[in-house]
């Protein structure tokens, strides 16, 4: 007969305790050690600045905590809504055009260009706009659109399409189109490269089977290619939206946010709040608001376009 004594601890308790305080194995410790430099870099470059921005967003210039007053001031400034509107318009112009153009080029090259040399040449050409500094692109774009000496006006007048100078950078609508066109020129190749690489992953057997079944190019695209490209669209939208929120150089050079504030995008607005108004509390609050808004937006987009193929 076995008797259990109430003074004795339950036999499993020490084991559980030991499991909770289990010493890491040598391999695990090595893994953590190897991760440490990367985690340290992320901590220094991302976490510390973010915490500092959070603190700054609830502080006055002298460092005293003032609660959400900076957020109230940021949200109460009508110029913020002008900047949001401008950024929204800019995104609505550039994102669909870049995706459609990038997709069209990718499909065209994927289906028509077979020679590896030509594909490599197109690849290099597509890389070029991505590696040019945005400031240089802004300066060149100004030579294209500038009043009185802009190349575009000269060409349009020479070929007889216009008989007077088009005010590309002075008219609110045209100015927005001008700054958007620079973005489209620079970033459509990025969309092309991503989608073209996605098309390489489409199994040849599936395409051939569809062709035997009589599928036309649209059906092939809709039922086969698109299936493989869908996660990449999320990637593209996420990257490009993040980029749109950071657009600065070419807008600053081309229009300076003008005429008035019609092309003053969020990044330019926050820059001015920080470096012209020297209102670092409000600028920090704006940065946090943008980050939170973008996180919510990303969540909504990722729900609509799941990363996993289903």
């Amino acid at each position: 007969m076995i008797r259990s004594s109430p003074n004795l601890p339950a036999p499993h308790a020490p084991q559980a305790e030991r499991a909770g305080r289990r010493r890491l194995s040598r391999d695990e410790r090595l893994a953590y050690l190897l991760l440490l430099p990367a985690l340290g870099a992320v901590f220094v470059i991302v976490t510390i600045p973010f915490v500092l921005v959070l603190i700054q967003s609830v502080s006055a210039d002298d460092g005293t905590l003032i609660g959400l007053r900076n957020y109230t001031r940021a949200l109460g400034n009508p110029l913020l809504y002008d900047a949001i509107r401008a950024t929204g318009v800019y995104s609505v112009i550039v994102l669909p055009i870049e995706i459609l153009l990038g997709l069209s080029f990718a499909l065209l090259v994927h289906r028509t260009v077979r020679w590896p040399g030509v594909r490599a040449a197109i690849y290099v050409l597509a890389i070029l706009p991505l590696v040019v500094p945005p400031v240089a692109i802004g300066v060149v774009a100004r030579l294209v659109y500038a009043p009185s000496y802009g190349v575009l006006n000269v060409i349009l007048e020479r070929v007889g399409l216009t008989h007077h100078e088009v005010n590309w950078l002075g008219d609110p609508t045209l100015a927005m189109l001008a700054v958007a066109s620079v973005d489209i020129w620079q970033w459509t190749p990025f969309v092309y490269l991503v989608l073209f690489s996605g098309l390489q992953t489409v199994p040849r057997e599936s395409v051939e089977a569809a062709q035997i079944d009589g599928a036309d190019w649209w059906a092939q695209f809709r039922f086969i290619d698109l299936f493989y490209l869908r996660p990449l669209f999320l990637l593209i939208i996420f990257f490009r939206l993040a980029d749109v929120l950071r657009v600065f150089d070419h807008v600053f050079i081309l229009t300076g946010g003008g005429p008035g504030t019609t092309t003053q995008l969020l990044s330019l607005y926050i820059y001015r709040v920080e470096f012209k108004f020297f209102d670092s509390g409000q600028a920090a609050a704006l940065a946090v608001l943008v980050l939170v808004s973008f996180s919510i937006l990303y969540r909504l987009i990722s729900r609509a376009l799941p990363l996993e193929r289903t």
Binding site: S148, L169, G170, G256, G258, R272, F277
Partner: protein, 441 residues
């Protein structure tokens, strides 16, 4: 050789890496811990990139050869220089021993206490050959005009010495007009008279923020308008101010170039230099850099330079845009930096500086006939300095005010708002910004 374990290898690599990465920090700590000698081996100047620092780059090697001190000039574009200096001063950094400063930055740097006083620390005194306004603009708190509330009662000190004596002037085609415009009515009459296809009667520098602000302020003042009165009350929406901006953005604009709302100084100079415009305001650096530059300009020798014409107020008020040299508080080479400034403003050295494209502040050099032949705007500049031109309001909030005001003028130039609506909205925004900064609203 005994083999080591993977664990030992990782440990040794980590230790070696940590030692290597800490070497620069250790060296830096050693260097800052050593007492600095009176004569440093190097002076570092933060300078604005462009025509303003070109002559400085040319004469700095002369000082180097005389003293053995290496002169390193670190250049930044206009906006970036300001941001760089503000962030350096906030951190009390010692990166720069001297810094070039646009005069509207003085209130910000003065309020921050970012600079070393040149008078009490290094014995700078006023020179009778240099107009007093030039010293006033480098003095903080300002010796004339309204003083920011936070600066009232503070002792005045000289913090900056002008090395580019910029004052905004007026230029017109003397080969076409028989007499200089004495007033803005004359400017308008000439604009009407000479305006024709592909030749514009007037050039407006109307790009948003700083350009539109700089271009319109002399007109605003000459019409009796202003941004603030003497007690910091915002008067930008006064009748005189609205009349001034209406004159520029509606009346004069009829004879201005297309795309004026996107025209900056470079675009203006180009129009003048290729003979497609009759007149405009201008800065000395534009004259030497483009308008009178041989081989660049088609109108070299055809332009005349005069002080800003008079407006309905009876005054023609130019605007100061001096570039000063100051010594950051964080510099440990203050004495050597001060010696360089003293050397630079000596008459004979400033003459060399002018011969290399510099803009002088010494009256004797501005009136020097030899130098005047190569620099036709010198007499106008001398007159403008003698007449005590206006400076931009001496407030550390100037950048914010300029952004709001310059955007409003740009809106009016672009026709997005009437001058009255644009200035009324701008006045309201400026009141809010100034109230936030502790000024009476």
């Amino acid at each position: 050789m005994q083999p080591i374990t993977r664990r030992e290898f990782v440990k040794r690599t980590a230790v070696a890496g940590a030692m290597l990465t800490s070497i620069p920090a250790i060296l830096e700590a050693c260097s800052t811990g050593t007492p600095t000698s009176n004569k440093p081996s190097k002076l570092t100047i933060a300078a604005v990139q462009g025509a303003e620092d070109g002559p400085l780059k040319k004469v700095a090697p002369m000082y180097q050869s005389q003293t053995g001190i290496t002169m390193e000039i670190v250049e930044f574009p206009y906006d970036q220089l300001f941001e760089k200096l503000v962030t350096t001063f906030q951190a009390n950094g010692s990166s720069y021993d001297l810094c070039m400063m646009d005069d509207p930055w003085m209130p910000k740097f003065g309020t921050m206490g970012a600079l070393q006083p040149l008078d009490s620390n290094f014995g700078f005194t006023r020179d009778s050959d240099i107009p007093s306004i030039v010293y006033d603009v480098g003095t903080w708190p300002p010796p004339r005009g309204p003083v920011p509330p936070s600066e009232q009662g503070k002792t005045q000190h000289l913090y900056g010495i002008t090395i580019v004596g910029n004052v905004e002037m007026f230029m017109y085609r003397k080969d076409l007009a028989s007499s200089p415009p004495g007033s803005w009515d004359d400017v308008l009459a000439n604009a009407q008279k000479f305006n024709k296809a592909n030749f514009y009667g007037y050039v407006i520098r109307g790009k948003a923020t700083n350009p539109a602000s700089s271009d319109s302020l002399p007109i605003l003042w000459s019409f009796g308008g202003d941004i603030f009165d003497t007690s910091w009350k915002v008067v930008l929406d006064s009748t005189a101010s609205i009349d001034a901006i209406t004159f520029l953005t509606q009346t004069l604009k009829k004879y201005a170039e297309p795309g004026a709302e996107n025209t900056d100084a470079g675009d203006r100079d180009r129009l003048i230099a290729i003979g497609q415009a009759f007149q405009s305001t201008t800065w000395p650096a534009e004259v030497t850099g483009v308008v009178e530059a041989a081989g660049v300009s088609q109108v070299a020798g055809k332009m005349a330079y005069i002080p800003i014409p008079k407006g309905p107020s009876g005054k023609g008020l130019g605007m100061m845009g001096n570039w000063l040299l100051g010594i950051p508080k964080g510099s440990s080479n203050g004495s050597a930096a001060a010696d360089f400034i003293k050397w630079l403003i000596k008459t004979e050295n400033m003459k060399t500086y002018v011969q290399n494209g510099g803009i002088p502040t010494r009256t004797s050099l501005l009136n020097d006939s030899t130098l005047g032949q190569a620099n036709p705007y010198f007499p106008a500049l001398a007159q403008s300095l003698a007449a005590s031109p206006n400076w931009r309001p001496r407030t550390d909030q100037w950048n914010a005010v300029e952004t709001i005001y310059g955007t409003a003028v740009n809106q009016a130039v672009a026709g997005l708002k009437t001058p009255k609506d644009a200035l009324t909205a701008a006045a309201s925004q400026i009141r809010a910004a100034m109230k936030q900064a502790g000024y009476p609203s």
